[in-house]
């Protein structure tokens, strides 16, 4: 089994992106290659013009749970955590070309942390026999 960790990011809320970034950075620190594929709402969250804004919380955060601690601006530094993962390890972030098309986005509209646009086959090739998580 490959040592790599591959994450398919679908959800674009700050809490799920923070969880994904934590996993990615941890795996990168452990010298495991990390492959990230951005689809739908996660892809939308990486738009350069909106990446620094807040992206809300998942349905799991619905009342009456106390959401204030994670609603604080800057409380969920997922972008910074992804940047650190890239800095310390081997990580690629691809934008799903199908989702780019669906959302009417051009790769140039994404934050530069996204390496390239890619198809599902190239992502699965990079993932090899390693774990793939869908978040």
């Amino acid at each position: 089994m490959s040592d790599s960790l591959s994450l398919v990011l679908f959800s674009g809320t700050d809490d799920k992106l923070m969880a994904a970034a934590t996993l990615a950075a941890g795996a990168a620190a452990m010298d495991r290659p990390v492959n990230v594929l951005l689809m739908f709402w996660a892809l939308d969250a990486f738009r350069a013009d909106r990446i620094a804004t807040t992206h809300g919380l998942a349905y799991d955060a619905a009342r009456p749970r106390p959401t204030e601690p994670v609603e604080k601006v800057g409380a969920l530094p997922w972008l910074e955590t992804f940047r650190q993962a890239k800095e310390i390890g081997e990580m690629s972030i691809r934008a799903c070309s199908g989702s780019l098309d669906t959302l009417g986005l051009d790769p140039t509209e994404l934050d530069p942390i996204v390496d390239s646009a890619g198809g599902i086959a190239s992502f699965l090739m990079a993932a090899e026999s390693g774990q793939i998580l869908f978040i």
């Binding site: 950075a25 620190a29 452990m30 955590t81 310390i88």
Partner: protein, 88 residues
């Protein structure tokens, strides 16, 4: 993760580099440790300061995975000092 040296031996070690990750939550201290280890030569001792009690076990797991020597933990005032020797 059992310490490989005694506490008195640990206290006698002078780290080659100290990384202050106090106040950072997981995975912050681990990422700081990984970055810090890249700046010291093989054989050097890195000391990570963390106020997160899970850091010591995380650093232990990381050391085992990537092949560094986890030396042990010293308790300080409100934080822990985790010592690791770079092995490769």
């Amino acid at each position: 993760m059992p310490a490989t040296v005694t506490e008195s031996e640990l206290e006698a070690i002078t780290a080659d580099k100290v990384v202050d990750a106090r106040g950072a939550a997981c995975p912050g201290p681990l990422l700081e440790a990984k970055k810090g280890m890249g700046t010291v030569p093989v054989g050097a001792v890195l000391e990570i300061w963390s106020s997160d009690p899970v850091t010591k076990s995380d650093i232990g797991a990381w050391s085992a995975k990537v092949g560094h020597a986890f030396l042990g933990v010293l308790v300080a005032d409100g934080y822990e000092r985790v010592l690791v020797r770079r092995q490769k």
